[in-house]
Symmetry: C2
Subunit: 300 residues, 2 copies
C-alpha cells in the first residue's frame, strides 16, 4: 500500500475541481482550509459518520459510497434551510481499501459536491477500521433558519417527496450486487439520495422542520419533542415510493426528504397530518409508537 501522503494525493486528484475554488481561499495542503464567509450570514455546521454495513454495504462500489456520504451529510444543512458551501472529510481505512478504492471514493464525493456546488476543501487520513466522517458547512440568514422547535399545534405537517424507497431497497436485500451505471429505482433511492436544497421555495412558508433520516415516525417524534406538541397522521396521505410500503415510510429511514410544519399548504409538498396540542403520535386516530434507526437500541 502506498504511504499516507501518496494516498492523500490520490484523493485530491480524485476530487479534481472540487478541492478548491470560489469562496475557498486555501484548500488541501496546509494545516487548515480557509474559507471566505458571506458578510451578514450565519455559519451552519454539522458532522456525520458513515460506517460499513451500517450506513452502506462494505462491498458497494466506492464511488457510490462517496456520493452517498456527502449527500446524506449535507442533508442536515438543507434541513436548516441553509445554503451549502464546503465540507471536510476524515477518512479511516486499512489494507482492505487501496489507492484505487480511495480515488474512486473521492470521485463519488466530487460528483455530489459538483451537484451541490460545494468544495471538499480539507480532510484527514488515518489507518484504522473503515470510517468516513464528514463535517458539512453552509450559510444562512438568521431569520431564514428552519428550526425543529418552532412547530405549533394546528399546523399542517408536510413532506417534500415520496418516502420509503431507500428502506425498501434495504429490506428486500437489493443493495448488492449493484452496477453504478445501471441502478434500479430502489437502488437509486438508496445510493443517490438528494439533499433537498432545491425545495427552498416550497418550504419558504414553513415554521419548523428537519430532514427524514431515521424514518418518518422517529424524526416526527423529534420535531414534536422539540416543539412541545404531538401529531396526528393520516396513512392515506403519506406519499409512498414505488416498491415501498407504509411500514418502510414510517419506520425505514434514509429518505432525506424534509418534514415541515406550516400554517398554510405548501405548493408541491404532500400534506400528511397535523400537529396537535396533545403529546404523542396517532395514525388514523390510533396511538402508535415512533420507531426508527437507533444505533444503540436493542430492537433493531
Amino acid at each position: 500500500m502506498r504511504n499516507e501522503f501518496a494516498l492523500i494525493d490520490a484523493i485530491v486528484e480524485g476530487l479534481g475541481d472540487r478541492a478548491t475554488g470560489d469562496w475557498v481561499s486555501v484548500g488541501p495542503g496546509d494545516d487548515a482550509a480557509v474559507i471566505k464567509a458571506t458578510p451578514g450570514l450565519a455559519q451552519v455546521a454539522s458532522i456525520d459518520t458513515l460506517l460499513p454495513d451500517v450506513h452502506f454495504p462494505a462491498a458497494a462500489p466506492a464511488q457510490l459510497i462517496g456520493y452517498r456520504a456527502l449527500m446524506v451529510s449535507f442533508s442536515d444543512l438543507a434541513a436548516m434551510r441553509a445554503a451549502p458551501r464546503y465540507c471536510l472529510v476524515s477518512l479511516s481505512m486499512d489494507e482492505t481499501q487501496g489507492a484505487a478504492w480511495v480515488a474512486s471514493l473521492a470521485c463519488g464525493m466530487a460528483d455530489a459536491a459538483r451537484e451541490l456546488g460545494v468544495y471538499v476543501c480539507g480532510g484527514n487520513l488515518t489507518r484504522g477500521p473503515l470510517n468516513i466522517a464528514v463535517s458539512v458547512h453552509g450559510e444562512v440568514e438568521h431569520q431564514h433558519l428552519l428550526r425543529r422547535s418552532e412547530g405549533q399545534p394546528g399546523q399542517q405537517l408536510s413532506v417534500t417527496g415520496v418516502l420509503g424507497a431507500a428502506a425498501a431497497c434495504v429490506r428486500t436485500g437489493q443493495m448488492l450486487p449493484v452496477d453504478p451505471k445501471a441502478l434500479t429505482p430502489l437502488q437509486h433511492a438508496y445510493y443517490r439520495p438528494q439533499a433537498r436544497f432545491d425545495v427552498s421555495a416550497m418550504v419558504q412558508a414553513a415554521s419548523a422542520g428537519l430532514d427524514i433520516s431515521d424514518g418518518l415516525s422517529q424524526d416526527l417524534a423529534h420535531l414534536c419533542a422539540a416543539s412541545g406538541c404531538g401529531a396526528a397522521l393520516q396513512s392515506l396521505s403519506i406519499p409512498i415510493g414505488a416498491g415501498a410500503t407504509l411500514e418502510d415510510a414510517l419506520f425505514g429511514g434514509d429518505d432525506y426528504e424534509l418534514l415541515v410544519a406550516s400554517n398554510e399548504a405548501l405548493p408541491g409538498a404532500y400534506i400528511i397530518g397535523v400537529l396537535t396540542a396533545e403529546p404523542g403520535l396517532t395514525l388514523d386516530g390510533a396511538p402508535f409508537a415512533a420507531k426508527g434507526f437507533d444505533h444503540f437500541g436493542n430492537d433493531q
Copy 2:
C-alpha cells in the same frame, strides 16, 4: 447500554457550559449548529481523527482522551495563526465504552474547550469501532494567516517550545498506568498538549509555519516542500525536553509546538537552523532523511 439519544444527553451534560454560548446561536439538538461569524474575518477549518492505540491508549482515562483529542485537533488552527471558535465531534463507539465513559470523555473535552475559549456545539454518535473525529473551526484576518508555503531561503527556523517529551513518554512505555490527578512530567507532555494560541505575539513576525505533530524532521520536510527550499539544522540548538532525546525531538511527534520561518529572531522562540536554497535537510552539515509518523508506512 442506554440508547443513542440517552448517550447524546450524557455527552451534552458532560460538556456543561461548553455546548453553547457567546457566538453559538444554535447548539446541540437541531439538525446543525449555527454560529455567528465575525464580519471581515475568514473562516479556518480542519478535521482530525483519533484512534485507540494509535493516537491514545485505549485503556487511558476517558477524560484525558477527550482533552487530548480537542487540543491536538485545534493545534492545526494555532498553526494557521487563527483564533479558535468552535468544534464538532463525531464519535463512534461500541459496548466497550458505556455512558460513564462517554460522560467522562465529554468532561475532558469541556476542560480543553474552556481553556481554549471554544464550544463543542455539534456532534454525532454511531455504534462502531472506537473513533473520535473532531472538526475544528476558527477565524483569522486573511493577511494574518500563517501558511506553510511562504518560507524563503536564508530565513531563520524557530520552534516555540521544547520538543520530544511526548515521544519520550511513548518510547519509554509510560503512557499507562496513568492517574489524571498525578501526571508525571512526560505524561503531562503526552496527555496535556497545548495548542499554541498563546504565542501569537511570539510568531507575529513569522513568514511561514506549521505545528509539529508528526516529528520535527517530517513537519520541517512539509514546510520545505511547500516553500520550495531545504533546511539546515544545528543539533545543539534544538531545545529538547527533560527526559527526551534528540531522536525523540527529530522523529517522535506529538509536540504541537509551532515551527516557523522568519527574517528576524522571534522573542522567546528557539532558533534551530535556517532555510536553504538547496532542497533536502541537513543536520550539523550532514544530509539526513525526514522520518516521522506515517499511518501507511511500512517502517513504523
